[in-house]
Every structure is written in structure tokens, then in C-alpha cells.
């Protein structure tokens, strides 16, 4: 037996990530920080993000002239602490972003598997729906839906999931089409497994990698969409802090030189999306060759 070869590969694939060179530490740390902030917002944020002190409006960040240590990153147009709003905004972005991605992923992956494996009219129906959906521009569609159902955090999650599940369905369906022809699936049929069992035991685990990679890449897109929706005023309703909303509000102060109201939330959006993309990119490269060499 090739013991030497076996020894180095007995680490379950989930944890093998950390052993592999090229792991994107910085993006991972950034995302961890954001997630941490989202979870422990109450503890970390110095102030209530929704209530402001009108007397302290438009304070600049601490390092600038006129700033103070009381408001590290300044205040906005109603005197709310920007840092606290950013921290709570992380929660919104993380919750909305992750939940939307997961819901879209579940829906899209399931439909993709059904469509790809069962074929026939199931495939036709799902694909025609997907095609129609994809033909609509995502943002416009989202705005339309938001205007119809009204703004609320959970409505936004549903809307984002509804808009973006089709991307999963397409990609996963493609993978399933080729997986279906693989010998181990044929052998499962020969063994007498039902279609349901085959989809669950053989197809799903082998498309999980693609679904995860797609998820990390979608995270960026979803967050930007959420920010755009908030910016346009059809996203998460005020006074709940959302980074996109902060951008919209801060827009008014840009001319007056209140740069921190737009730049800081903008940077947060950028950092989160960039980190998610870099992580997804790395995942895609790392998970794919392993699959190929198997």
C-alpha cells in the first residue's frame, strides 16, 4: 500500500485549507473582524447607533481638527456616532449578505441539481424560469420588488435571494450535467439507488465545492446590491444603520467637506466585498485542482 502517499492526505479536506500555502490571511482576518463586530455589536459599539445628540452634529474623526476622542470616527448629520453605526451596520450587512447568499444558494443549488439530474420537463421549466429571471437586470428587479413589498430587513433578504438564486442554478446545473455521466453515478444506478438517493449522496457533495465558491463570490455582489438598495432608499429602512444608507445620507454632506460620512462606510463596503472576492478566488483555485486530480 502506498503508505507514504496516504499519510499526508489523511487530513480531512475541510481543515486542509490551513496547511496549504497561499491562504489569504488578510481577507480572512478582515471578514472575521467584520463578522465579530456584527455579532458583538452591542458590546463593541460605544453609543446607540440610532439616537444622536443634536448638539454634536458633523463632528469630524478624532485625528482631525475639531474631532474628539468621544467620537472616534465622527458623527453624522443628526449627531449619531459613526463608529457605532459602522459596527451595527456590519451586522446588517453580514446578516443580510450571508442570509441572502445562503438562501439563494440553497434554492439555486437544489433547483440546479433537480434540473440537471432529472432533465426532461423539470429541466425545461426550471431553465425557462431561470432564463427569464436572468434576463431582468438584477438591480432594477430588486428595486421593483422592494417597492412592491415594502422595505424591511427581512424583505430585503428575500428579495436578494429571489434575484440571485438563478446564478447558482445555472452553474450547478452545468456541473450536474457532467457529473451525471461519471462512472460512479452510473454505478450507483447499477447498485439500485433511487434518483433521490443519488442526488443526495452522489451529486450534492460533489457540487458543494462549486456552490461554496460561488457563495463567496456572490457575497460581494449581494452586499453591493444591498448597499445600492439602501442608497436608493428602498433598502433597510432608517434609522437602522446600513452602510449603503450611510452612504446616501452622507452624500449630502460631501460638498460641505464632511468626507467621513461617505468615505468610511464606502471603505467598509469595499473591504468586505474585496475580502469575500479574494477568499472566493482562492477557494476556487484550491478546491478545483483537488477535484481534478481525483
Amino acid at each position: 500500500m502506498n503508505g507514504s502517499r496516504a499519510a499526508s492526505l489523511t487530513v480531512p479536506w475541510r481543515f486542509a485549507w490551513l496547511r496549504i500555502e497561499g491562504f489569504p490571511w488578510i481577507p480572512a482576518i478582515i471578514i472575521s473582524i467584520i463578522a465579530f463586530a456584527a455579532v458583538f455589536a452591542e458590546v463593541l459599539a460605544p453609543y446607540n447607533p440610532e439616537i444622536g445628540v443634536l448638539g454634536d452634529r458633523f463632528r469630524p474623526p478624532a485625528w482631525q481638527a475639531g474631532g474628539s476622542g468621544a467620537y472616534l470616527l465622527g458623527t453624522d448629520h443628526v449627531g449619531r456616532d459613526v463608529l457605532s453605526r459602522l459596527i451595527f451596520g456590519a451586522r446588517v450587512s453580514v446578516v443580510v449578505g450571508f442570509t441572502a447568499v445562503i438562501v439563494a444558494g440553497l434554492l439555486g443549488t437544489t433547483l440546479g441539481i433537480l434540473s440537471g439530474y432529472l432533465g426532461g420537463w423539470v429541466d425545461q421549466v426550471i431553465m425557462r424560469v431561470t432564463d427569464t429571471w436572468l434576463a431582468l437586470p438584477a438591480l432594477t428587479f430588486a428595486i421593483f420588488l422592494a417597492a412592491v413589498v415594502g422595505p424591511s430587513q427581512w424583505n430585503i433578504v428575500i428579495i436578494l435571494a429571489a434575484v440571485y438564486w438563478t446564478r447558482y442554478a445555472r452553474v450547478i446545473r452545468g456541473e450536474v450535467l457532467s457529473l451525471r455521466e461519471r462512472d460512479f453515478v452510473r454505478l450507483a444506478i447499477v447498485a439500485g439507488c433511487s434518483k433521490k438517493t443519488i442526488m443526495r449522496r452522489h451529486i450534492l457533495p460533489n457540487v458543494l465545492n462549486s456552490a461554496i465558491v460561488l457563495g463567496t463570490l456572490m457575497l460581494g455582489i449581494v452586499i453591493v446590491t444591498e448597499a445600492a438598495l439602501s442608497f436608493l432608499g428602498v433598502g433597510v429602512p432608517p434609522p437602522k444603520p446600513a452602510w449603503g444608507l450611510m452612504l446616501a445620507d452622507g452624500k449630502k454632506g460631501l460638498m460641505a467637506g464632511y468626507w467621513w460620512l461617505t468615505v468610511l462606510p464606502g471603505m467598509c463596503i469595499m473591504l468586505m466585498v474585496l475580502s469575500a472576492n479574494l477568499l472566493g478566488d482562492w477557494l476556487r483555485v484550491k478546491l478545483d485542482p483537488q477535484l481534478r486530480q481525483l
Binding site: 502517499r5 489523511t10 481525483l294
Partner: protein, 319 residues
């Protein structure tokens, strides 16, 4: 002795290329009215080149495809149209090993799960019984017991084929379809696997449908050989006879084309002209006639039937 599996008039046509309005398009006659029998504990070897229909035949026997016409009699019961529970019962008796050891095993499943999957699909056994059976199967195919916890990528090609064989054996089938089981393996490993297959046949009374393009391997493993060309069986008979004295001109060309085992081995050179025609448009009459070195005028008009000649069946107007 009644045959374990018998094919009668077995036919499979595939429709291809439908036009915009759903009409037109051709028919690929992948397998056209073939008949053969596999005795219990014996091997039927099938040889032929691309497009001959041997892979489709394997799929039909495995019921991965449904025949367009004809019967597949397993222990005298026609399984060609079976569905549901009847089909499930058939599957208990007929399993398969395929060519590519890297694609035959689900990379996400542990070896014990892979081997026991057929078992748990058909029978209700507790975990202990399943584990015992898996351990026994690993032993039978010559793999160490600790293989059960490992993943396929930790094994070499030859070892993976052993895992595939262990899985095929898990339900104690009567017949195993072997589709090019050693072609993707290193030369020095092939003999190991072929020996294992022969040992298993002897010990367990397994019947094999052995498909391969390596003529010598098929000759070594088979009791009966069927030669296929463009969806038809052109010669079928006792392996030793077919190999030593092929009757059909195509069989003769095939064996003449096989590579020698020694530089001094001289073969009568029968180099066929032309390419294998497309199964979409087989030649009229005898499908082999455009390439046949012994063609007669008769051959393009009437398709020859399998007739007894020289102790076996040959489909050729020469006999």
C-alpha cells in the same frame, strides 16, 4: 445447462439530430438484433472496435438503457422492460466494473461507504453486519482492512479497481459486467487484476461479460468470444477456437492486426482498407462488405445471418 443470461433479438436504436420541427434526423443502430448467452460461472468476451456496439450491449444488460426491441432473459425471466421492484431485484444479481478507476468511485465517500452502498440499498443490516461484510470484501480483493476509512484519492489506480470489484461483489451477484476493467491500468498491474478476476470467478462461480479491446486479455479470460461489428455479432463461439482459427474475415483481420508478443512472431498481414463506417449509415447488405478482402457480389445485397460453421456461429456468405 440453462444459460444465466440470454439475449434474443436485442436491439437498441438511438434517435439523433432532430430538425427544428422535430422531424427528420437519423437513427444510430447501436445494437441491431443480436443474440448471445452467458452460462453461469463462465465468461463471455466481447471484442470489436469503435462503434461496434459493445458498450451499448453492456449498458443494455445493466439496464442503464432500455432496449428498443428484443429480450434479455435472466434466469428465464425477461428483464428488458422491468421497472420498480422487479428491476431492483435484477440489480441484485448483476453488477459492474467500469474502465476508469478514477471516475468509478465517488471522491467524497469513504471506501467502506462505497463498498457497502449496494448492500444498504437492498438489505436492512445493522452497522456491525455491514462492517463485517466490508472487511470480508476488502480481504477478498487483497486490500488491507484499514482501507475502509480512507478516501479514493489515497489509492493508486490498481487499488481503486480492487475497491470497485469489492463493491461489485457486495451483493453476491451472479453476473458482473466488466467494461474494459484493466485498460486504464499500468501494464504491470493488469496481470494482478486479471488474476484476481479469474480467482473470484472460480471461487464464487461468477459469470462475466468481459469487454475489452486487448484481444489477448479477452482471449485469456473468456470461455466464449463474440466479435461485434457495427451493431451486429459477426462471429461467436468457443474462445480457443475463435482465436486459433477465426472464420469471419473481420475476425481474421482483427486478430491479424493484434500486436505480436515477440519480435519474431509473424502474422498474416490483413490490413483492412478504409475506416469504420458510421453507425448512422451502415452499408447495405453485409455491413462489413466495403472493407472485406473476400467480398463477393452477393454481399452487398443480402445481410448474412449467423450460421453454424466450424463449431461456432459465423455471419458470412462464405459459409
Amino acid at each position: 445447462m440453462t444459460a444465466l443470461l440470454e439475449a434474443r433479438g436485442l436491439t437498441k436504436h438511438f434517435a439523433v439530430g432532430r430538425g427544428l420541427l422535430g422531424r427528420g434526423g437519423g437513427v444510430v443502430r447501436a445494437v441491431d438484433d443480436i443474440a448471445f448467452a452467458i452460462e453461469p460461472g463462465r465468461t463471455l468476451g466481447v471484442v470489436g472496435e469503435s462503434g461496434c456496439g459493445k458498450t451499448t450491449t453492456a449498458k443494455l444488460v445493466l439496464r442503464l438503457e432500455k432496449p428498443t426491441a428484443g429480450q434479455i432473459l435472466f434466469e428465464n425471466q425477461n428483464v428488458a422492460g422491468l421497472e420498480g421492484d422487479g428491476l431492483l431485484l435484477y440489480r441484485k444479481s448483476v453488477q459492474a466494473v467500469f474502465q476508469d478507476p478514477f471516475a468509478s468511485l465517488n471522491p467524497r465517500m469513504r471506501v467502506d461507504a462505497i463498498i457497502s452502498e449496494p448492500l444498504i440499498t437492498h438489505e436492512r443490516l445493522d452497522a456491525g453486519a455491514v462492517a463485517a461484510r466490508v472487511a470480508g470484501l476488502l480481504d477478498v480483493v487483497g486490500l488491507p482492512a484499514r482501507s475502509r476509512d480512507l478516501f479514493p484519492h489515497e489509492f493508486s489506480g490498481g487499488q481503486r479497481q480492487r475497491i470497485a470489484i469489492a463493491r461489485a461483489l457486495s451483493l453476491s451477484p451472479r453476473l458482473i459486467v466488466l467494461d474494459e476493467p484493466v485498460s486504464a491500468l499500468d501494464v504491470s498491474i493488469r496481470a494482478q487484476i486479471l488474476n484476481l478476476l479469474r480467482d473470484l470467478q472460480r471461487e464464487l462461480g461468477l459469470a462475466y461479460l468481459f469487454i475489452a479491446h486487448d484481444l489477448a486479455a479477452v482471449a485469456h479470460m473468456s470461455h466464449v468470444i463474440a466479435v461485434m461489428y457495427l451493431g451486429r455479432i459477426v462471429e461467436i463461439g468457443d474462445a480457443a477456437q475463435v482465436v486459433s482459427a477465426p472464420q469471419h474475415p473481420y475476425t481474421q483481420a482483427l486478430f491479424a492486426a493484434a500486436l505480436p508478443a515477440h519480435p519474431d512472431e509473424r502474422r498474416e498481414e490483413v490490413v483492412l482498407a478504409g475506416e469504420v463506417p458510421s453507425p448512422l449509415n451502415p452499408p447495405a447488405g453485409c455491413r462489413f462488405h466495403p472493407r472485406c478482402p473476400k467480398v463477393m457480389s452477393h454481399c452487398s445485397q443480402e445481410e448474412p445471418k449467423l450460421k453454424p460453421a466450424g463449431g461456432r456461429q459465423v455471419a458470412c456468405h462464405l459459409y
